[in-house]
């Protein structure tokens, strides 16, 4: 398998399309807001079943990249999803978990209501049919959140809310999953659970995942590919390649990266 992916990547890098494997290509992405150029010429080639982590200093344009992939921010450049046979299939179906869902935490809205409003045409307050209810439970089951179904959205902890939003982003199953990891509000344990679920989902559903992350330790442990972004792609490679590169150290400083596995705080934030 490893060999196959390696070969595929070789082909892709020679721009022969996505032979035998599906992938998403981001070509020449640039974003300018007002007079400030936030992203310049970002090129990424993402493969199905791979977890790509995007890291970078504050203000590097990580969240902006996700939002422009979503189409929420105007951008130059293309995004193309290519199916398994290599034919270009246009814009991918995108699932998105925002960094911080800003909402009224006193809202009388249960997790079931939220899913019902996305999955059924029937007004969510009228309740859902048994069939839809089972689908909702299945969705929540994927992220170990089935017990949260009757909880009020505002009563969830940071980690729980994150998992519920992940479950929502997986329905309908996207081709490209964008995750913007929260900077605060989720404890270390919650983050670890989240990473484990994401890793599992990637293998199970063969998804392309882009994860904007601030936790260098967890990225090293779970990501297949790491992209160091600072206005443009600075480094792009396996965690080992990126973490041993000098430019990585210039960006984050030396602490917490140089084989410092025991550093509990992830370091270098």
């Amino acid at each position: 398998m490893e060999e196959f992916i390696g070969k595929h990547r070789g082909n892709c890098e020679n721009s022969l399309g996505c032979c035998g494997y599906c992938c998403t290509k981001i070509e020449n992405f640039s974003v300018t807001i007002g007079r400030t150029q936030i992203l310049q010429d970002v090129n990424l080639h993402l493969h199905c079943g791979e977890l790509t982590a995007i890291i970078g200093p504050n203000g590097a344009g990580k969240s902006t990249l996700l939002k422009s992939i979503l189409g929420e921010i105007k951008h130059e450049g293309n995004i193309v999803f290519a199916g398994a046979s290599g034919e270009a299939a246009g814009r991918p179906v995108v699932g998105y978990v925002p960094q911080q869902l800003e909402f009224d935490t006193s809202a009388p809205l249960s997790v079931r209501n939220l899913f019902a409003s996305c999955m059924s045409r029937k007004p969510a307050w009228q309740g859902v049919s048994k069939k839809v209810d089972k689908r909702i439970i299945d969705c929540l089951d994927r992220v170990q959140a089935d017990k949260l179904i009757d909880k009020r959205l505002g009563a969830l902890s940071g980690g729980e809310l994150q998992r519920v939003l992940l479950a929502l982003a997986l329905e309908p199953m996207p081709q490209l999953l964008l995750l913007d990891e929260p900077v605060s509000g989720v404890d270390r344990k919650g983050l670890e659970v989240f990473y484990e679920i994401v890793s599992k989902i990637r293998k199970e559903y063969d998804l392309t995942i882009i994860l904007v992350s601030h936790d260098l330790d967890l990225v090293r442990k779970h990501a297949d590919r790491v992209v160091l972004l600072n206005r443009t792609v600075i480094l792009n490679g396996t965690p080992e390649e990126v973490y041993t590169d000098e430019r990585m150290h210039e960006t984050f400083g030396l602490t917490g990266i140089l084989g410092n596995e025991t550093d509990e705080n992830g370091g270098g934030k």
Binding site: E72, Y96, S106, P108, L109, N113, W125, R152, L153
Partner: protein
């Protein structure tokens, strides 16, 4: 209409309901209560209480303009103006980075100033009735108009409830699920504009917003999911509406204001109960 009056006489043979104007007011409340309950839940969900207040001011200006021009019935030009006003605020709100409060405040006070100037330049004080309103002045034909409005609003609500819910939760989330958030917002604010404009002459500019906001705000205190929220808001809307009508009949008070007082009392009771529910 005669038949409906007869049916009312049979089902509800109360002395307060024996006059025709009371029957009309009663029917109007039956129609307007669910509409206000529904729109109120959406307004409170979207944190737009101040916005709907501004719409009332826009409606006032609309009526003033309608009277000044005097081509059509003031109500039709008022509806057109209110819709334009609400669309304008929504667009400006979405386009600028200025605080929403400021944008609404500017539009609201500009509208009311224009309205006051127009009304007094005509030299007639009779449109000061728009400020207080008189529910008992409603005619049978106007009850028919309310029926049409109620049906349209309820159908729209059933069709778009899920989308509006997602937009009110978080705009980005709604966008990422393929919802045209500005279109939803515009449709919904226009609906509020129409309802407020039509009913302002019976309820009055000063209290119309409390009638929209109070039932939903009270329901929110004691509900944990969307089902409870909507059902309780509708119930409070009906109870305060009909209760207020009956009380105002016996106490000889202004109907709209009495309704609002009952709704406010219910709100404070639910506020006290809040901790047990949330």
């Amino acid at each position: 209409m005669e038949q409906i009056y007869k049916i009312l006489d049979i089902i509800l043979p109360f002395s307060w309901l024996s006059y025709e104007f009371m029957k009309n007011a009663f029917l109007a409340i039956l129609l307007i209560a669910p509409v206000f309950g529904i729109l109120g839940t959406i307004i409170v969900n979207n944190r737009m209480a101040f916005f709907s207040d501004a719409l009332g001011h826009g409606a006032f200006t609309g009526i003033a303009i309608g009277t000044a021009i005097g081509i059509f019935q003031p109500m039709w030009s008022a509806i057109v103006f209110s819709i334009a006003f609400s669309v304008l605020i929504t667009i400006v709100k979405n386009k600028t980075k200025t605080s929403t409060d400021t944008v609404i405040g500017v539009f609201s006070s500009a509208a009311i100033a224009l309205g006051v100037v127009l009304i007094y330049s005509k030299g007639s004080g009779k449109y000061s009735s728009v400020l207080v309103g008189d529910l008992l002045s409603i005619s049978a034909g106007e009850v028919g108009l309310l029926l049409i409005i109620a049906i349209v609003i309820i159908v729209l609500w059933l069709m778009f409830y899920n989308k509006i819910l997602l937009v009110s939760l978080n705009q980005s989330l709604a966008k990422s699920r393929g919802i045209n958030t500005i279109a939803v917002e515009l449709a919904f604010t226009s609906a509020i504009a129409v309802v407020v404009t039509v009913s302002i002459q019976w309820i009055g500019l000063l209290i119309i917003n409390s009638l929209l906001v109070l039932p939903a705000a009270a329901a929110r205190n004691v509900s944990t999911n969307a089902r409870q929220y909507n059902i309780i808001a509708l119930l409070i809307s009906f109870v305060s509406g009909i209760g207020g009508l009956i009380m105002s009949y016996y106490l000889d008070t202004a109907t709209g204001a009495t309704i609002v007082i009952i709704a406010a009392v219910i709100y404070f009771i639910t506020l006290g109960l809040r901790k047990r529910f949330i």
